[in-house]
Symmetry: D2
Subunit: 384 residues, 4 copies
């Protein structure tokens, strides 16, 4: 691969979408990736308009993802896109991801990975068969202090992990926004586009993924209280889940979209035999490390005493806050480093490999399936 930026083609992310713009910023930040193609909308005129606003060549703005993948594949190597970024609602993840992979393109995919567990398992096979890279954008694992938390646990500094609390309270769906035409609320509350889960798919999977990422453990059993709080809604908008992990630790997961007045303060706390730690998005550049026998420490992005993993994912000195977009960009950057390494036959550094992929995607879909099953069950514990 010559010395150039990676070329990205986007599926979804037309005008009015939220997460498409976030993906583009995340891809832009580090100057490693350029957006050169897109099928931004199922409406060709809107796709064209979006392409124009993004300064794309008109001939690389497509009317459908199938067209994009077919036509890009026909371009000479070194000119065509290197990977596809898929930012559509859940029911439109699997199709473009499979097609892209089968045509030789790496994939970045928003979470949850697919519409159903069955799709997820099939996609896993496609990834394994093609040997291509898939990055699943569980954003919160991109924060430097989340990575530091993971390293601290992995180092054994906290001792054996015993308890995990993870929560993701949002309030934006406390009113029936979907009834008044809000696009984001619309598809998230629609079983035909979101899948079997509402809030558990949208943010519960983030919480479960964060707990597993930081702790290095896997959820093995759960017991869920899943609620539809806003009348008329078809999918859950709230839930509390008791968890068991594969080392015997227990946990509690709380995800709600009817926590009126809350923004997006996802938070995780992990307690081991020797110490505990706490991270929350509202103070994203701080990792609190707590001890029974000495003062708690305020570990900070860019500050002293950090692991190589945290340093690799940091852009500024301590006290210049990095935020959500930088966390997102860390996923893109690490993915890009691995794509480039693969193209050039180079062994990637361990830090580069640290982004969520198809395995996390399958785990997320399994979580969704089981948490919804548990919510409907009179049985206390459900195994994963």
């Amino acid at each position: 691969m010559t010395n150039r930026k990676l070329r990205m083609g986007m599926v979804g992310g037309g005008k009015g979408a939220f997460i498409g713009a976030v993906h583009r910023i995340a891809a832009n930040i580090d100057g490693q990736i350029e957006l050169v193609a897109g099928a931004f909308s199922s409406n060709p005129a809107r796709s064209k308009e979006t392409g124009e606003e993004l300064y794309l060549s008109p001939e690389r703005v497509y009317g459908s993802y199938e067209e994009m993948i077919r036509r890009e594949k026909e371009l000479p190597e070194g000119e065509r896109i290197d990977f596809v970024s898929i930012v559509t609602p859940n029911h439109l993840h699997f199709g473009p991801a499979k097609l892209a992979l089968e045509n030789g393109f790496h994939v970045v995919l928003d979470k949850p990975m697919t519409f159903s567990l069955a799709e997820a398992l099939e996609l896993q096979q496609v990834v394994e068969r093609t040997g291509l890279l898939l990055c699943l954008t569980h954003t919160y694992t991109g924060y430097p202090m989340v990575k530091e938390a993971r390293q601290r646990v992995a180092s054994g500094a906290l001792g054996k992990i015993r308890k995990i609390y993870v929560e993701y309270p949002q309030g934006w769906l406390s009113a029936p926004l979907e009834a008044s035409g809000n696009k984001q609320a619309g598809w998230r509350t629609d079983p035909a586009r979101s899948g079997i889960a509402g809030s558990m798919g949208d943010i519960g999977t983030h919480a479960a993924n964060l707990a597993e990422y930081v702790s290095g453990l896997k959820i093995t059993r759960l017991c869920a209280d899943i609620n539809i709080v806003v009348p008329g809604r078809q999918l859950d908008d709230d839930g509390g889940v008791l968890l068991k992990f594969d080392n015997g630790a227990s946990g509690v997961l709380m995800a709600s979209q009817i926590a009126t007045g809350e923004e997006n303060c996802i938070k995780v706390r992990v307690y081991g035999e020797k110490g505990g730690l706490e991270w929350k998005q509202d103070d994203a550049n701080t990792l609190l490390v707590k001890w029974p026998d000495k003062p708690a420490e305020i570990v900070r992005t860019g500050g002293p005493g950090l692991s190589a993993l945290a340093v690799h994912n940091t852009r500024t000195p301590a006290g210049h806050p990095e935020g959500y977009l930088e966390a997102f960009a860390n996923l893109y950057r690490n993915f890009a480093l691995c794509v480039r390494a693969k193209s050039n036959g180079i062994t990637p550094e361990p830090e580069w490999l640290d982004f969520p992929g198809v395995e996390e995607g399958v785990e997320g879909m399994l979580f969704i399936e089981k948490v919804i099953e548990s919510g409907k069950s009179e049985q206390k514990w459900i195994d994963l």
Copy 2:
């Protein structure tokens, strides 16, 4: 009743006890109560020594609570104690409380109210029969901002309540302190002194009480994950509980004594249709009130816009922090106001009546019984 301070006799609280000293400070603060008698220890020498340190008349320092109650009753009215404060471990609550009530003394009692639910129900009958006052020291409901939270919910400002999170993470029992002679840890982890529950009795009841007090709701069902984490322990030191309330709201309760590095940051969050609120002990003079459509508000002890209930329970202007001891003192002060009103045949003000009593005590014991039952059950939901 003549114009004098109320007279208190204490059961328990000898040297080395923690909560006895707290009760004495709480009783002292407002100058409404004086400690005049005590049976501070089952060891008469230690009781005597404690009495001396507290400047009591030697003749009113007793070797047992039975002796204290008997001898004080023999003193002329106006000289003898008005009430008994009981600060012993759980297994020694019922006996002195019952005896005191049956001999005409009001009672202040540390929580949980008794050793068992059966004792609680019997004590409830004694209270009803004697018509005397019992104050149960669920301290956290004494904070002005907790009271303000309750008033805000009761006023309907948040709309119908839908979700409640309450948590009480502690770390002090993350190591087996009881094995090395720690007195506090010793009785709390001993089924013979603590009852069927460890952490659920010690702090879980506080959390449940706080959730009910603030929300004005009652827990009707629960599903509990109850754990003994530290090897060799006989009682739970950790638990997570899914809750259902009598208006249909759901909740999550987390109480742990193995959350290594945590202090005592009990915290409650309540979300209604229109708004949410958050209070935590670490920032006890702040009540956050959150809205979907306008900025969150920082309601403060002593600040503008407070209810009569909050104002009544506040001693200093905003920004002079009131803490745990003042919250505790609010229970004593309101109890004292009611005792005095009763003695003088005066109707108490509504604010005076706001302290936990025998009803909350029975609820707490029922919570303990059911949460432990649920922890052992394969059935998902247990009704209260």
Copy 3:
């Protein structure tokens, strides 16, 4: 001295006063002191009424401080008061303090010590001559974490101190409250009762005292911008001051009573060659200790790693917040311990001696004199 509580007589603190009630609570908390006499108001009826509310014997409620001191002195030793607590406005500090000392009573005195520097210097001589104890209630030095801060600096842990920031922003005088009959605002803005300074005397002295207490340094020069912001006011309600300390360090002091919306968040930051620290009243149980080469530490009241001085001034385990009244009570308790030690011919422990006295009082009055002089001067630096 026999085994009994110390006996206190109060000057001032009648109905409607703020600080009198605070002093009484502070004296009550630890059960070491009992209020037995008072001249609560220059209005004998109001004094009597206050005495009644406080359950005092009517014969020990006096119409003036002169009467109280004279009559108490006539009582037998062991029955009469041990000390006088003076909680009147500034112009009424010197008289009762001097008279009390000269009649053999120890004194607790609210700050600033006197109406003028001349009075302060004379009072200092009286204290020295009588050999009695005087406690000046610079409350903020009573907080356990302020004491810990002082110890950390004194230990050399931060290296040579280079920079000190201290601030006390209040907003309560941003409107002319004194014009609408507010008693607190009335005397504080009145030169006849407050002295030459308004905010600088009321809160600037607290800030200066806190900076000196924590750093162990003395202010040697200052350059002040002193303002009367609210039209019609005669005394300063705002000021900023550049400081020089006796070791060459520099500092900035900010005190304002027109910082609209602020409560009482007095805050101090001290930076040395090796580290820095920060304390503020709004989070009074936390001391942040900051390092260039390792994470900042959250030192907590009741937590691990504290000095004997902090431990001595703490009543509860970590996480049960202690507040303003406990800080105030620490002054009273240490004073009481020293009075008792003196009476009994015992050498006081070093921790007991740690309360502000006449020396701090003189320094405060010197600060007031010089800061007001500087405010009016075109000369940049004024020596103290």
Copy 4:
């Protein structure tokens, strides 16, 4: 101008530089600008190496800024750069800025604007003469909540402004880093490269600019205590400044680079007759608005009730923290919008014009000159 990204050429920002990378990220984020040329270092080999890492065409990586400007000017319009971004130390600001402007290129310039006030005044004339755009990267004014603060003051919601506190405490120069080869410390402490000021130029100007931006006021007088704390240093590393503003308000500015353990928590507080506000970089997405008669409000990036100016400068919904790089990017984006509008003969929206320019640059250099003069003077107040 055709539908394309703006083209940027960079001066400085070679390997090892800090702020160059920040500028590149800021330019990248929104996909409005592409870096196409650079003179990254006075060392041509290093410049070449940097260009390669940034995927630039080798023929557009130059050995000097003079060469870049000359050669780019020779390229056809529509291919050559649109503007120059200058990220060199202070002594190398004026030369490239003047040359760029005089050759028809707009300019983005790091602060302080020039080496001396004389240069600043000359550059101001060049800008006025050429009619081109100059953006000065006073980053902190790019934060959405800083912009909201400015709007709130401008709206009159706080009433007449009376008091301003602004502070910028850093600790990174508490040791003589410049002696051990630290590149950033090296030029900042070197009068030949930094100018007459050290910390006052580096961060004092940020603080002064922030105070003026938020308050809408201008500093008219100052009284400064300027210190060289670390032995052997030639320029100030610490200072405290008393301020007077053009409406009669007073203020205090604190800027230090020897506040050991501090990161970059620049903070501003503004108090008016009716209310106050507070913003600090450590919690950059929060603006506290404080009132005397109702609870303080937590105004949040992306939250309800914001001005058009704040909304325009926000990329994500509330609770997805935006940080330093997004604030920086806001300057670039607004500058780019204005450059594009100018090229296309369109009237820019008011929000686009909101970036610091040559006027703020001159003010900053005047502040530096006067604050250093004051630091050396025995005269109390110096007029600006």
